[in-house]
Symmetry: D3
Subunit: 238 residues, 6 copies
Amino acid sequence: MARSHGRRSDQLRPVTITRNWLAHAEGSVLVEFGGTRVLCAATVESGVPRWRKGSGLGWVTAEYAMLPRSTNTRNDRESVRGKIGGRTHEISRLIGRSLRACVDYKALGENSVLLDCDVLQADGGTRTAAITGAYVALADAIAWMRQRRMCPGDPLVNSVAAVSVGVVGTEPMLDLDYSEDVKAETDMNVVMTGRGDYVEVQGTAEGTPFDRTALNGLLDLAAAGCAELTRLQAEALA
Amino acid sequence: MARSHGRRSDQLRPVTITRNWLAHAEGSVLVEFGGTRVLCAATVESGVPRWRKGSGLGWVTAEYAMLPRSTNTRNDRESVRGKIGGRTHEISRLIGRSLRACVDYKALGENSVLLDCDVLQADGGTRTAAITGAYVALADAIAWMRQRRMCPGDPLVNSVAAVSVGVVGTEPMLDLDYSEDVKAETDMNVVMTGRGDYVEVQGTAEGTPFDRTALNGLLDLAAAGCAELTRLQAEALA
Amino acid sequence: MARSHGRRSDQLRPVTITRNWLAHAEGSVLVEFGGTRVLCAATVESGVPRWRKGSGLGWVTAEYAMLPRSTNTRNDRESVRGKIGGRTHEISRLIGRSLRACVDYKALGENSVLLDCDVLQADGGTRTAAITGAYVALADAIAWMRQRRMCPGDPLVNSVAAVSVGVVGTEPMLDLDYSEDVKAETDMNVVMTGRGDYVEVQGTAEGTPFDRTALNGLLDLAAAGCAELTRLQAEALA
Amino acid sequence: MARSHGRRSDQLRPVTITRNWLAHAEGSVLVEFGGTRVLCAATVESGVPRWRKGSGLGWVTAEYAMLPRSTNTRNDRESVRGKIGGRTHEISRLIGRSLRACVDYKALGENSVLLDCDVLQADGGTRTAAITGAYVALADAIAWMRQRRMCPGDPLVNSVAAVSVGVVGTEPMLDLDYSEDVKAETDMNVVMTGRGDYVEVQGTAEGTPFDRTALNGLLDLAAAGCAELTRLQAEALA
Amino acid sequence: MARSHGRRSDQLRPVTITRNWLAHAEGSVLVEFGGTRVLCAATVESGVPRWRKGSGLGWVTAEYAMLPRSTNTRNDRESVRGKIGGRTHEISRLIGRSLRACVDYKALGENSVLLDCDVLQADGGTRTAAITGAYVALADAIAWMRQRRMCPGDPLVNSVAAVSVGVVGTEPMLDLDYSEDVKAETDMNVVMTGRGDYVEVQGTAEGTPFDRTALNGLLDLAAAGCAELTRLQAEALA
Amino acid sequence: MARSHGRRSDQLRPVTITRNWLAHAEGSVLVEFGGTRVLCAATVESGVPRWRKGSGLGWVTAEYAMLPRSTNTRNDRESVRGKIGGRTHEISRLIGRSLRACVDYKALGENSVLLDCDVLQADGGTRTAAITGAYVALADAIAWMRQRRMCPGDPLVNSVAAVSVGVVGTEPMLDLDYSEDVKAETDMNVVMTGRGDYVEVQGTAEGTPFDRTALNGLLDLAAAGCAELTRLQAEALA
């Protein structure tokens, strides 16, 4: 089975990270993993949610959504249905947790950064592209804050990137596109820091349950993929 | 008072119409009026809403939304708030009505086209840009249908374009950007066909009520603006 | 085609304005345009919405709704469906904007008036009847406030009235009833001040797009209709 | 303590029942108990809810609501809040159950009648006025159906009327107005058939719990009140 | 017709009241009336709702819900449907009113107790079991507060218990189980204090309307049932 | 630091699995992991969701919820708030996916099993207890179906159990209770089949990101815990 873009099973799709895609946001990135295209906008707000007030600590959170026609068949808008679906909730929470792993709340002071990750076009791996792009938008937003001396210290203490891996047929593969994702027996999303530690590991047997050997193989692929994404993030921010 | 892009009071902002911006939609356009950037996606569905079944007639409808950080200060997502605001409803309805003016339902047969207009970046005139771009996406979607022989005839019987006009201070101006819009005494959105007839005229006195002379002046400006947009649409579709 | 009440194409239906229809409201009017019957209640509240606090300025807003069996076939309650429809939103916003054109916010002080316009019976032109009646209820509410010396000045600086006009077949007509409205090619709602200036002009081609001549004809009819309604409002308030 | 309208503790307020208040509904009544004014509209639909299809039996149901300014201080619209409150639900269910006691479902055939009871002005006893008026609207709607030979038999096998009773201070009273209701220690709503049987008895100790003697006294008052209302209903329908 | 548990028409089902069923709640009771099993949890909060602040008075309220598979056929979750049904609202309000009859708000001080009554298994009489059990949980919660000297006095001035009675066929019966409830012509829920006074009487003719004699018979049965439940509550609390 | 129940870092809390806790459900289990108590009810429905009709395949799904006072401080009901939170959504989806790993859809035929997992008392590990208990309820429900010959084959092809592991301080621990969970640097939920394969691995760095060695240590602990739970499930089903 040939992969899209003629790539090997351990290769990422072509990745592009375009900064400052939006005029208004304090940080904004259009990130592309092959045909997957996510617009990440960072909004800085002075102040924190009520439950955190007076703590001296900042906060980082995220919201993920898909445009209705980002996908092959159209999905109804969640605003029209009047409620947010489980998948959307789950991914928003994942992105928020992942980005909080980069941040020193104390150095951020009582400020918040909200990352909006809107999928303009979906071709597999939207959540991992969102995390990877949102990190860059967050870095820009923090730079913006530091220029204005809003933060007591340097809040950006780490970087994060994320990639999906999976077993398609019996072959472990890096960075699945949609056609691979629907065939995958096992699907795993891995979020890692720039130093190579884990922030999130989420593996799911869509078909046959997987054994420890398969798990180890996927973790190896993901580590290499995240390292490459970390390099691309650094390049974009340079 | 100098206008953005150094333009005269009767000039449009730079307009770009990029077709096929999305891989999945049957028609898709990224339309830009200066800093206003709207992604218009047309989805073709065979079949019509329940109330229209068996009529032999097609249907065209639209949904408008803004990304939370398309604006200068972030707006909460309507999906998170659990309901659609009045402004969103109003503009979705306006876009739908405007596009239906181009379509012969009988020639369309019992098929539907849904236009999603998502504002990626807002700088005034988002609804008029949406209508202008959605027309092009609709034309592409209809061409797609005709290639597949889904329609009994040619459903596209007209074109529509839209522009905003307003009185800023005492001067009538074409295609207001956001900074002009907030200062406008009177604000009018005009939707016209390619033949120069009116589909919608919506004028509102934000400040002082306006007289018949002012109304006539605005209608003149709008007619010229819509004619120019009609030319740009034709060029994009050529 | 004979019109209801044997009237000419440039004649209003019989209009009645009954003040003080409710015991509790600070101003209340039952307004009738032929078979259209709208109950308008003005509620005075000291204080303004959060975003306006400390400005020294007042606020006027409106909510429109139809009783489920005001119409020929019953409509589900929006409270039961759990959300407000687009048409309701749109008309509520229109009524609010229209009435704000009569009011000097500074003279009102930090007080609010909320106009509830509930359609008890619908026979076309409910929004224009609502605006026309709500103005009278607002005038009564402001008189009530001034008696209690709640306002720093006289907030009522203008009057507004509204009427619908349309092209039925090829004939322009004033104040369409429901049977005319469903047949109209073009439908326009015009809100004017007592001095003859425009507050809102909303024209829609339901069928064939209309040209400038038709637009001018409709504007002439509307101006005469609004002038007559202004006279009837003054009479009711005398 | 003097009662409104100079009445004795065992007297109803002035009651008026105006039939055919609405042009469109198959039955409609404006019912007034003193200052309480409820508009009752009966809508006939052929067919029954899904769970009752194929049974050969009809259905009767009701919805109750208050206009926002029917009360002394304005209540937010339930449509705006996006949900129906407990009190509204409870009263809608009570009215539906009460009216179903008059109806032979088999004779009604697979048809439905929906009673909308909208409180235009509230001064205590809105639910009992609604039941009393809705019965008359239901009778008119059933007559309308019988004229069109929609029903296999005569579905109206009984009549219902309702009244509130309560202990104010230590005195049992009939048909409490709002000022009495807020002071009542015990509050009871009684729905009875024209033959003097009970359909609903709902007594609540708002203050001190009540004993059997008090309960008996209230039941006596209610029986007399319902008998008088039954007479007024018959008179209205004559 | 034999009754479940071989009981007479004037006998309760076996009743068990298990205190401290939950580790976290300030008072908690698992109450069983035969196969009906309700978990009642009392939550103490210092402070009262906004509308009661500064009054020096406390507040008691309740929420009732059924687990989806407490019943014979599964009911959808109200959280999934996004709204609370009328029956749930009605019963929550009934439980709250009933428990408030035991409490001296002044002695409670500005503290609140919220009773959650969740039906784990339903076999008729869930609301009466809930009231009977919630009283015991409330008593425990108040004891907990008094140990911590949160209350200015002793807020528990009464006890309440509740039971259902009904006419099945022509026989009046105490404490209906589900199979009896669905056959009952008349269904009545009675809430009484430990001293034998009424807090709530809610009788409904599900089938034939009932006369005063039937009503009196049901009230007699209920009084005996509530007296027995009061004894069981006292025993459990001893 | 001593653990609750005096256990070692690689020991489970006392686990009890009580079958048939409910009278109505086709399978029901009260599962306890120490102080965590989850009621799992399996509902069998013939038929499958619309999108799966005609496939010949069955379906298994789950809903998770917490009673408001299952926790130390009360949580508002999701039904009252009108929407389901992200955490609830996420866990419901996890339970459903986990149980589907045991099932041969073809052997199930076009039948559905819905697992309701309601947390009566929470002390950490509610999702893993829910999965472990729901498997037993599912097994009972499938046995119930097979007795009635509803299934074309034996749908139960595997078993699943789940446990949480985490790093508290620097020590990896099995089956965290609430007090340990809030202190954990890393938190991982692992779902495994009875044969020792993975269905889900979800690891999150709550504090410091974790390295591959830590991950491996946690996976070892989890494998031993799941094996023990598998043994207890088999014992309960014997």
